[in-house]
C-alpha cells in the first residue's frame, strides 16, 4: 500500500515544483541552522573543555599589585610587591600542593638564521607540576638550576617547530636577549588557552636566570605572579583566604589598608567560561529551532492550500474506494516527504557551512551523529505534526461535497 503512494506523493510534489522547493527551503534553512548552531555550540564547548583540561586543576594566581608609598601609588610598572620568599611561605600552608613564582614577558629568540618571538616564563620546577605539563623530549630543570641561575630552557612545540624546524632542539643552543640558552627539553602540546593564546608558543627557564639575564629586573627576588595549586576545588576558597592573611601579615598591612596583591581563581574562571559556552550553545540551538518551527508552519500552510486545491481529486479518490485513512496517509506522506527532503538538504547544507566555517576561521566545530539524528527525528516530527491537520481535513471531506467542488 505504501509503495504506490510514495510514487503518488512524488508526483504531487513534482506537479508544482517551485512551490514544493520553496516549502522545502523553509525546512532546509531550519535544519541547516540547527546543524550549524549545534556544530558551533558543541565546538565551543569542546574547545573550552579541552582548554580546561590542559590548564591544570584547582589553580589560582596571586598577582603583584600596586603599593602605596607616601600617597603615591605605583602602577604595575613599579616594583612588584611579591617576592620569592612569599612563594616559599605559601608553599608551607596547609592545602597547598604546588607553588610556582613566575616572571614572564615576550622576547625574541634566535637560533642560527631563524628568529621567533615568544612568551618567556621564568619559574621554578613546580610550575610544570601545577600545570600538569609533561616533557615529551629531553628533561626539565631542577631546583639547583634555579639556585645557580643556569641558562637552560624548555620550549613549547610551536617554538620547536618555528625555530628548529626538523632539527632535534634538545642540546642545541639558542639566544634570548643575546644570552645563549641550552634547550634541554620540549613540552607536550596544550593548544590554545581560554583567551585564544597558543600555549605551546612558550619558553620556560629558571626564575633566577629570567630575572638576571632576560628581564633584567632591578629588584632581585621579587616576582609579578605566584601560581598556586590547591588540594581540591572544595578547599580552594579556604586556601585562598589563608594565602591572603599570610601575605597581609608578611607585607605588614594594617587593618583598613587594601591588599597590595590580587588573586584570581583560574579554575573558577574556566568553569564560568564553560557555563557561558553551554548557555550560548543552548541559546543558539533554541534560536535555530525557531526557524525549524517556521519551516514547519510553511509546510502546514502549503498542505492546507494543496488540500483545498485538490478537493475534487480527493472526492474522485473517495468515489472509487479510498478510505479516510488512505487520504490521510497520502497527505501525511507528502508532508513528511517534503519535510524529509528539506531535512536532508538542510543537513548537507549545514555540514558544508560548518566545515567551511572551520576551514576559513579555524573555529572548532563538533559534528555529532546525534545532531544529525535529532534533525531527522525532528523533521519527521515536524512533517507529521504540521501535516496532520491538513491531512485530517482532507480525510474528513464528504465525497459528494468534494466531487461538487469546482
Amino acid at each position: 500500500m505504501i509503495h504506490p503512494m510514495l510514487g503518488e506523493a512524488w508526483l504531487a510534489m513534482g506537479a508544482n515544483r517551485l512551490r514544493t522547493a520553496l516549502t522545502m527551503l523553509g525546512m532546509v534553512i531550519g535544519v541547516g541552522a540547527v546543524v550549524i548552531m549545534m556544530a558551533i555550540g558543541q565546538g565551543a564547548q569542546y574547545a573550552v573543555q579541552q582548554t580546561i583540561s590542559t590548564m591544570g586543576s584547582n589553580l589560582f594566581i596571586v598577582l603583584s599589585g600596586s603599593f602605596t608609598t607616601a600617597g603615591v601609588r605605583s602602577g604595575s610598572a613599579g616594583a612588584p610587591t611579591l617576592n620569592v620568599a612569599d612563594a616559599q611561605t605559601i608553599a608551607e600552608l596547609d592545602g597547598v600542593v604546588n607553588v610556582a613564582p613566575t616572571h614572564q614577558g615576550t622576547r625574541q629568540l634566535v637560533y642560527g638564521s631563524q628568529n621567533w618571538s615568544s612568551q618567556v616564563i621564568g619559574t621554578t620546577p613546580e610550575y610544570l607540576d601545577a600545570r600538569a605539563w609533561s616533557i615529551v623530549n629531553g628533561a626539565g630543570f631542577g631546583d639547583s638550576d634555579v639556585r645557580s641561575a643556569t641558562r637552560v630552557a624548555i620550549i613549547g612545540k610551536t617554538v620547536a617547530e618555528n625555530l628548529f624546524g626538523d632539527d632535534d632542539p634538545v642540546g642545541k643552543t639558542m639566544r634570548i636577549q643575546q644570552n645563549p640558552f641550552i634547550v634541554i627539553g620540549v613540552l607536550g602540546s596544550k593548544g590554545q588557552n581560554l583567551d585564544g593564546r597558543d600555549q605551546d608558543d612558550t619558553v620556560i627557564i629558571p626564575l633566577t636566570t629570567a630575572q638576571r639575564k632576560v628581564f633584567g629586573t632591578p629588584f632581585l627576588g621579587s616576582v609579578r605572579m605566584i601560581m598556586v595549586q590547591a588540594e581540591s576545588a572544595e578547599t580552594m576558597p579556604r586556601t585562598m583566604e589563608s594565602v591572603t592573611s599570610l601575605l597581609r601579615q608578611r607585607h605588614r598591612l594594617r587593618e583598613g589598608v587594601p591588599d597590595d596583591f590580587f588573586m584570581r581563581n583560574l579554575s573558577a574562571a574556566a568553569e564560568s567560561e564553560a557555563e557561558t559556552t553551554r548557555t550560548m550553545s543552548i541559546l543558539l540551538g533554541a534560536i535555530a529551532s525557531i526557524s525549524l518551527l517556521v519551516g514547519g508552519i510553511g509546510i502546514m500552510n502549503i498542505m492546507l492550500v494543496s488540500v483545498t486545491e485538490r478537493t475534487r481529486e480527493i472526492g474522485i479518490r473517495m468515489a472509487i474506494g479510498a478510505r479516510q485513512r488512505d487520504i490521510l496517509s497520502q497527505f501525511l506522506l507528502e508532508a513528511v516527504m517534503i519535510s524529509f527532503a528539506g531535512c536532508l538538504l538542510g543537513l548537507l547544507l549545514g555540514l558544508a557551512i560548518a566545515l567551511a566555517i572551520n576551514a576559513f576561521t579555524g573555529m572548532v566545530i563538533v559534528i555529532s551523529g546525534s545532531a544529525a539524528l535529532i534533525a531527522f527525528v525532528v523533521a519527521a516530527g515536524v512533517g507529521i505534526f504540521f501535516g496532520w491537520y491538513p491531512a485530517q481535513k482532507a480525510a474528513r471531506l464528504d465525497p459528494i461535497e468534494a466531487l461538487r467542488y469546482q
Partner: protein
Amino acid sequence: MMQPVIRVAGLGKSYETAAGLFPALKGVDLDVRPGEFIAIMGPSGSGKSTFMNLLGCLDTPTVGDYFLAGENVAHMDKDALALLRNRTLGFVFQGFNLLPRMSLQDNVALPLVYAGVDRETRQAKARELLAKVGLGNYAESLPNRISGGQQQRVAIARALVNEPRLILADEPTGNLDSHTSEEIMRLFEELNGEGITIVLVTHEPDIAAHCKRQVRFLDGQIVSDQLTGDSA
C-alpha cells in the same frame, strides 16, 4: 427468483438549506434484479442525482433502507461504504472525473491501489480494460490528450476494474454529442450483455431507448416504472 442486486424501501433524503429541511427524495421503493439495464428519467431537480448518490454509497439516506447485494448499507460507516464503492459497484460521472496528472492506465488502475492489489496485477488489469473499451494504444496518455468520448470510456474501464456486477452512471452522455453518446450506449449494452447490471440517469429518450426498463422521477418520487420495447 433471484435476489435483487438493489432493494430500496422507503428511501428518503432531505438537505439542510437556509430555508430549512428540503426533502429531495420522498420515500422511494425500487428493486433492481441482476442483469437489468435501467434508465432513470425525470425533469431537472426531481431527485435523480440524489437517488444515484445514495445507490452509489456516496451519500447516506435520511430515512429508509437500502439493501445492496442483500446487505443493508443505510447505516454503514464511512470505511464500509468506501469498501462497497471500491469492490461492489462502479460509478460513472457526467464529467468523467479522471485524475488529470495520471496516465490513463494509472487512472484505470487506481481503484486496485485502494483494493491493495500488487503493481503487476494492477498494470495488467488496467491494460486489459483499456483494450476492452478500445483505448489499448493510449495507456500512457494523459486524460487531457483524448476526446470526451474517449475519457468516458476510460472512466467506464476504471469503474469495471474491480469486476463489480453493478454499474451506476449519472448522465454519462450528458457532456457528449449524439454520435459519441451512441457509442457509449453501445458499450453499456455490451457490458449488460455480459451480465452486468446497469442503472443510468438520462434526459434523452434516445438514450433511454437503449435500456430495458425506464423509471421516471418527479418531485422526489417514482411516478412511472415500465419495461421498454422488445423486453416488454
